[in-house]
């Protein structure tokens, strides 16, 4: 029963969510329904006003954000937050903070060594996102679509077990959405659990196993994509807006 209040505003109000390992779980709702706030609370950028966050059997509520990353929770940002003045390669390099990567090298070699040892891993990430040819380009100089892919790759650099995607499809056309869908499915088959916060129904309906719907901070429905599509309460919340 997670809650996050900002003064008198209940951005998230008594939300109960359970995401199973290996699922692709969708979180949808009209603007202002509390989706991004939920992501921020889960990752630790905002403390909850009430409620607990349990990850793989462990209460992580007291952990600061960077330690939650080491537990295996990574996220992308709705309005891309890349390190613009660093290159593509460097953006991925600084993000390799998973427990595995930390264990792989000693403290000094990891921090003060050069780029050689991690070439392989980062190379793989670059291949996956189709950015290998731009590895030395400054992130700020990338095209919008490329920045999106880098944002995702950077989250993956942390070898997450749970990946929170915050509106990754905004502004994409159908073809791009299709490619994103493929990438998400590939990730899942690689063992990553995904929580997809999204507005673009084409993506949500086509890729998720289960969806929860928020309105004014509260969960108004939960079920399979088909069930959600048919739910009258959901229709009402969206005022018949999105194409389902």
């Amino acid at each position: 029963m997670l809650s996050r209040h900002f003064g008198g505003v209940r951005a998230v109000d008594g939300l109960d969510l359970e995401v199973r390992e290996g699922q692709i779980f969708g979180l949808i709702g009209p603007n202002g329904s509390g989706k991004s706030t939920t992501v921020n609370v889960i990752t630790g950028l905002l403390p909850p006003t009430a409620g607990a966050i349990v990850f793989r059997g462990r209460d992580i509520g007291a952990l600061p954000t960077h330690l939650r990353l080491r537990e295996g929770i990574a996220r992308t940002f709705q309005n891309i937050r890349l390190f613009g003045q660093l290159s593509v390669w460097q953006n991925l390099w600084v993000a390799q903070n998973s427990a595995e990567d930390r264990a792989r090298q000693g403290f000094l070699p990891r921090w003060l060594g050069g780029q050689g040892r991690v070439r392989e891993d980062i190379g793989r990430l670059l291949e996956f996102s189709g950015l290998a040819h731009k590895q030395d380009e400054l992130a700020a100089n990338l095209a919008f679509g490329e920045q999106r892919r880098l944002e995702l790759a950077r989250a993956l650099a942390a070898r997450p077990k749970l990946l929170l995607l915050d509106e990754p499809a905004a502004g994409m056309n159908s073809e791009e959405i299709g490619q994103l869908r493929e990438r998400i499915l590939k990730l899942r088959s690689g063992g990553v659990t995904i929580l997809l916060v999204e507005h673009v129904m084409e993506l949500v309906m086509g890729v998720t196993d289960r969806i929860a719907v928020l309105n004014f901070g509260q969960k108004i429905a939960e079920g399979t994509p088909a069930a959600i599509r048919a739910d009258p309460a959901v229709r009402k919340a969206y005022l018949g807006g999105e194409a389902a």
Binding site: H66, R75, Q85, V94
Partner: protein, 288 residues
């Protein structure tokens, strides 16, 4: 010729000061405290060589450590304070250090005279170099050997993951946290390294000028410290070096005929530079 050696010594010491501000600035922290760490290093080194008879090299080592220790202590509360407030807090800290030394007396008798820091009068007779037969050019080389070592260290950091992480934090703290970077460790470590470098710089400063006092470590010096990396740009350590050469060389050499008005010109120079090139002379933090 001696004059140019002296100028080179000054540039060397100021470069260390600038480098100490550089590494902290990479993490996005604008610190006016570097002159304070510099002062600590100066007094510590001076007291060790004059009052305890130490050799300059271990004395500088302790200077570095004390600068680092004080900087580390400052680094933690600095985390709680953002942006402009940090500027104020570090400025106040620097002034606090200066006031501390203004009130600090510790003298012992050496032969017939009293030596050691004496409050407002300062700390005179820091004569390790002359007493041990060091020529001016030898002192200059010694200073520059240390400067080059410091630049090499920071240049190495810049190429390593540590330097890249520093810049990531300076760019976007929220994103840095979210990719698993420990902000506290990064910001405090940068401050500590900066403190160590400033400490060594201060120790060298004390010995080549042979006389230090609280007024030497005032707001003007704190401003110089942060101005160097801002004017030089954060692209690389060489920017800071160029800025020191430009500012000190220009001010000292080029305007020598203006005599006393030099400091006034420094102020005007900053105002002019910021109006003409707000992003700094070598440009922004762009680096491939």
């Amino acid at each position: 010729m001696d004059f140019y050696f002296g100028l080179a010594q000054l540039i060397g010491v100021h470069t260390l000061l600038g480098l100490s501000a550089y590494i902290v600035l990479l993490t996005g922290q604008v610190s006016l405290a570097q002159a304070g760490f510099f002062a600590v290093g100066a007094y510590v080194a001076g007291m060790l060589t004059v009052l305890a008879g130490w050799h300059i090299v271990p004395a500088l080592g302790v200077s570095a450590m004390s600068g680092a220790a004080v900087a580390c202590a400052v680094g933690f509360p600095a985390l709680r304070v953002k942006g402009l407030m940090l500027v104020i807090a570090t400025l106040a800290f620097g002034e606090g250090v200066r006031l501390f030394f203004f009130n600090f007396d510790y003298q012992i008798a050496k032969g017939e005279i009293q030596v050691g820091p004496l409050g407002g009068e300062g700390f005179r007779q820091i004569r390790f170099f002359p007493e041990n037969g060091w020529e001016t050019w030898e002192v200059m080389y010694f200073i520059w050997a240390i400067v080059i070592a410091a630049m090499a260290l920071l240049w190495w950091f810049d190429r390593s993951r540590y330097g890249t992480v520093l810049r990531a934090v300076g760019e976007d703290e929220l994103a840095a946290q979210s990719v698993g970077i420990n902000l506290t460790a990064v910001k405090v470590s940068a401050m500590t390294v900066g403190g160590a470098i400033a400490g060594v710089g201060g120790g060298l400063y004390a010995h080549y000028t042979t006389h230090i006092e609280h007024l030497s470590f005032n707001i003007l010096l704190a401003t110089f410290a942060i101005a160097y990396p801002i004017v030089g740009g954060l692209r690389s350590v060489f920017g800071t070096l160029l800025a020191v050469i430009f500012v000190q060389g220009f001010l000292v050499e080029g305007l020598r005929f203006l005599g006393d008005w030099r400091n006034l010109l420094f102020g005007a120079l900053i105002v002019l530079a910021m109006n003409l090139r707000p992003e700094g002379i070598l440009g922004g933090r762009r680096r491939a």
